[in-house]
Amino acid sequence: MEIKVLGPGCANCHKMEEMAKEAVAELGIEATIEKISDIAEIMKYTMSTPGLVVNGKLMHSGKPLPSQQRVKELIMHGA
């Protein structure tokens, strides 16, 4: 599975990345997590960061951040 976390690099984006890592660990799945901070690349998906992309599909964007449980669901859904 391919997971991308979109964000130029603020506290919320870091938190989203942490949550994605934890969710992958909890689910016990094979996944690569990539942090995208290039604006043009982010804009391909959304203008509201932080964003969560699972297998090329935008699953979450913007504030407020989803809960840890919700991130797990989003990753499972996108799989």
């Binding site: 964000g7 130029p8 690099g9 603020c10 919320n12 984006c13 604006i39 043009a40 982010i42 804009m43 391909k44 998906y45 959304t46 203008m47 509201s48 960061t49 932080p50 935008l58 699953m59 979450h60 964007s61 913007g62 504030k63 407020p64 951040l65 809960s67």
Partner: protein, 316 residues
């Protein structure tokens, strides 16, 4: 009621002497802390519920190809209720421009959003009263609207980086409609999240405020920062710039200083500088706008904030 509770703790529970400096400072501290956290919880929760009905995508659609004045007014209002992370300023700017939101309207949005933020509003309300808070909100919105209109009139589109117009935005997700229950849950999580992040700063700041309240002589600041000192306003604005996003820690201290003679207009200008003039945001925006437009933006903001300061110092 909260006042009684604070008095009860200080005078009855701790058996401290009335009228003494330490007991005065402590009572002030307990009362303010209780009041602020109660207000913060309620207001952040309500704002979070309201914000769950707005998204940057929807706001963009509403503002697309809007005319001057109406567009700027709408943008300033939407800036207050649209949730967005400060780090989204650049993607948001690109998204807005690309969707045909006029440059000036985009700026009205970007200025109003940090200036009228819920934490600053609650703290001002809790510590300085609703009149001053209303004044702050209205002048904040006016500054955002006017600055946007001026930037729009100056026709500065040529100072926007060229790539902004060529980036292709992908299709955003349609957020699933939430039930009211889910919105409440989201607002609840968000409120706890924000409180967790800022509570310590607020407690420390209220503590310092309490100390100032109890120990610094009345009228201490009248000479230096009273309404008659013309240098106080620009100085307050300069001081406010590096204090970006620390409204939570600053307002309790500033409110205590008001009782020591700090002029109200100077306070308003200082608060606006703290919330709306931020060096990190300017540096981020430099990715999408060239230096001359950035300078115009910073110049107009600084000038209007200083005018607000003088205006209220002279009428209040």
């Amino acid at each position: 009621m909260l006042k009684d509770f604070a008095e009860y703790i200080v005078f009855d529970l701790f058996v401290m002497e009335r009228g003494a400096r330490l007991s005065g400072a402590l009572e002030f501290f307990i009362y303010d802390t209780l009041k602020i956290f109660l207000l913060l919880s309620v207001v952040i929760f309500i704002i979070s519920v309201i914000r769950s009905y707005f998204s940057p995508e929807r706001t963009r659609k509403l503002l697309s190809h809007k005319k001057e004045f109406i567009g700027n007014g709408l943008a300033a209002g939407l800036g207050v209720v649209t949730p967005f992370c400060s780090c989204s300023a650049v993607p948001l700017f690109i998204g807005f421009i690309e969707a045909g939101v006029p440059l000036g309207v985009t700026f009205s949005f970007l200025i109003a959003s940090p200036m009228v933020n819920e934490i600053a509003v609650v703290l001002l309300w809790g510590l300085l009263g609703w009149k001053l808070t209303t004044l702050y909100i209205f002048t904040g919105l006016i500054v955002a609207i006017l600055s946007g209109i001026i930037i729009g009139r100056l026709k500065l589109e040529k100072w926007v980086e060229g790539y902004v117009y060529t980036i292709q935005t992908g299709q955003s997700i349609d957020a699933p409609a939430l039930t009211f229950r889910q919105r409440l849950q989201l607002a609840n999580d968000n409120t706890l999240d924000i409180l967790k992040k800022i509570w310590l700063y607020i407690v420390i700041a209220i503590g310092i405020g309490g100390f100032i309240h109890g120990y610094v002589p009345e009228d201490f600041l009248v000479k230096y920062a009273g309404p008659d000192n013309l240098l106080a306003v620009p100085l307050a604005v300069i001081l406010g710039v590096p204090l970006y996003s620390s409204a939570a820690g600053i307002i309790p201290i500033v409110s205590a200083l008001i009782s020591k003679g700090l002029a109200v207009g100077t306070v308003l200008a200082f608060m606006m500088a703290v919330t709306a003039l931020s060096l990190p945001e300017m540096i981020i925006l430099h990715k999408v706008i060239k230096l001359p437009l950035l300078a115009v933006f910073a110049g107009i903001m600084t000038a209007s904030i200083i005018i607000v300061g003088y205006l209220f110092n002279s009428i209040l």
